[in-house]
């Protein structure tokens, strides 16, 4: 009567609603958010202390917000196309999304150039330094996303045209991370506008 009852795996346990790796990705995103909470609250505290330089943010920052949202959409449709087995669409959208991602980083760099031309340097009043640091660390996370996209591109062009749950899952992780860095930039730009 006291025999042990076993967990018989797939058939007897309720299906996981979310793949653990995807869940882990969300937690990783939460920790990245906390780092930016650190930066932005330091910004608020430091600003409240006075001796704070007010300046206009380069317009490129806002255009880039649009660009990164568009990148997210393109990558999303690439994923949908893959799921539906539409390989031409999947690959072309993936390439387009990756190029847009590269463009984002390049244009962020341009925005920093605009700032330096306006006399806002990394050194000097912390008001400027904060903008460089916040956008710079964000760009570093976008670069991480580009690495993931490169891996996705390699998969797309080196593997045969098959749809497997494993590949859907991988693509899903990459695209999810892109949505995250996009939303993160929206938050940051919104924050910077509110505080200047």
């Amino acid at each position: 009567m006291n025999a042990t009852i076993f967990n018989n795996g797939p058939k007897t346990q309720t299906k996981n609603k979310i793949h653990p790796q995807k869940f882990a990705l969300w937690i990783a995103c939460a920790s990245i958010v906390m780092m930016f909470v650190g930066f932005t609250s330091a910004f608020v505290v430091r600003r409240a202390a006075g001796n704070w330089l007010e300046f206009d943010l380069p317009n490129l920052f806002f255009w880039n917000a649009g660009l990164i949202v568009a990148t997210s959409l393109v990558l999303h449709f690439s994923k949908v196309a893959f799921r539906n087995g539409d390989f031409t669409k999947y690959k072309s959208l993936l390439v387009a999304g990756s190029l847009m991602g590269v463009a984002f980083v390049v244009l962020q760099y341009e925005a920093w150039m605009v700032m330096t031309n306006n006399g806002i340097y990394m050194t000097g009043n912390p008001a400027g330094s904060f903008v460089y640091v916040i956008s710079g660390v964000h760009a570093a996370h976008v670069l991480g996303g580009l690495v993931a996209l490169t891996a996705a591109l390699v998969h797309a062009f080196s593997l045969k045209n098959f749809v497997t749950p494993q590949r859907i899952h991988r693509l899903d992780l990459t695209v999810t991370y892109w949505h995250f860095v996009g939303v993160l930039w929206l938050y940051l730009i919104f924050f910077l506008v509110l505080n200047s």
Partner: protein, 617 residues
Amino acid sequence: MATITTTKISETDLLIEEYGYDDHFHEHHDDDKFQSSFITTYIFSQDHKMIAKQFLITGMFWGVMGAMMSLVFRMQLGFPEESMLWLKPVLGKWITVADGIGTLAPEFYYALVTIHGTVIVFFVLTAGLSGTFSNLLIPLQVGARDMASPLLNMLSYWFFFLAGAIMFASLFLSTGPFSGGWTAYPPLSALEQASAGSGAGMTMWTISLVFFVVSVLLGGINYVTTVLNLRTKGMTMWRLPLTIWAFFITAILGILSFPVLVSAFFLLMCDRALQTSFFLSEIFIGGQALEHVGGSPILYQHLFWFLGHPEVYIIILPAMGIVSEVLSVHARKPIFGYRAMVYSILAIAFLSFIVWAHHMFMSGVNPFISNFFVIFTLIIAVPSAVKVFNWIATLYGGNIRFNAASLFSIGFVSMFISGGLTGIFLGNSAIDIQMHDTYFVVAHFHIVMGVAAFFGMFAGVYHWFPKMYARFMNETLGRIHFWGTLIGAYAVFWPMHYLGMAGVPRRYYSFDTFENFSHFANINKFITIAAVVVFALQVLFIINFFYSIFKGKKVTSRNPWGANTLEWTTPIEAGHGNWPGKIPAVQRWAYDYGKDGKEFIPQIVPLADGEKDNGDH
């Protein structure tokens, strides 16, 4: 639209489709790819049990390092007049010799204090404690084959290793390691000119800690994911042993607070390398005005303590979880107030995020704001007291088996009470005006965090050693270790309260110039001697540990302690995948001791007809 072409679907694919993820739930075979060679078994292992041992032994290495450092600076404090010439072979140029008398270089004294604090807090009591036991116990006690991502888990250890290697290397710099205190406040940490260790020493210190944070995050992400996603059938959250609750909440605290430390370090690095002024305001050094303007050193303190306070709970919560489990098993009684224990962990975790400024009452923060922090700080005493009450109630009337594991758990409770009470003094900003940066604070946190967390760790090692190495540790040596350490630790830290109340400041190389404190010379001698004795007892523990790995009494039954949790249902030497066949399902909570006339009822035993599970109400 093209048709979906699928070839022969791999096993992984099938599992993702049917089950939602690709853990291999079927039986494991011996020839698995993870453990095929010496290197993949012992070095780059992805098995959580092996990674746990790696964390433990690396943590022990750092424990010895940190303890030896403390002996050197205690020597200086206790016997300032004695020659330290005999240390010259080890410390080299840091012992300066004049007239045949060796003196410890003051810069190096500060470096020792700094590195002692850093490695004990981060490498021993964070990585060595939660790294070891979260790794060992989470998969075993929730009923999983391994962590959600064994690969990230392995990386977590190796990032920790790397952090340690860098910190170790910094000890050999010609300018010495960082010496500005474990909290690394600017300007000492921000300006290379500020002290010898502020240059290369600080650079390496920061890099080491950034790698350490990566390790904590990789580990934490795994722990949380495993607890939430990979519990076996029947293992509801309310059936989790308190160990798992503690590790789980600890991991969340780490994930939320360590990134903030990284942001502080990042700004600090900008100040150091790029001449920004986040933490540096108008400053003169060596009679020279620096370019920096408009920064705020207090800003760093806010960011640091936003991590720093949760960090102390990251250290103590796993110890609390271990103690709850060990006490219940060896008192042969259910843990008193299981739910209250869980809720108090949650309350402590939440409150730990809103009390950080109690470390800054004397840093010039607005006294009005301080009041909020006083109130929240004192409120933490409530859930802490709930836990203490429940441990004592668990012991009360129990049929206690006094062995090294349970003794250290009881010792933990004693230490936590003693140190917690002094926290309440310090939490009042008015009293803290007198106490801040004195030996009172040193006594407080060494007892409540240092010694208590070590006791929790020892309890865990003695209790789970049979699971780790299939042998027992020597019980007699264990008891000598316990009684000696208990008495010795109080002898070291209790007198420090008196020093602190008299105003003796911490982090001073010598008190020669303070006539007021000269009558403490004998107390300082006493403390140093006690510290040497306590250290010797830890050497005894280490000998016992390594001797027992090879020569200890063999474990002959699966469940030597008569415990309920799942790890004791695995084979005595559990292989990769933990259970050779299927994973057992869970039928009840973890604390059915002395129920219905049975001494203990393991979690895998089904509920009898009409029996109510104490876990789910």
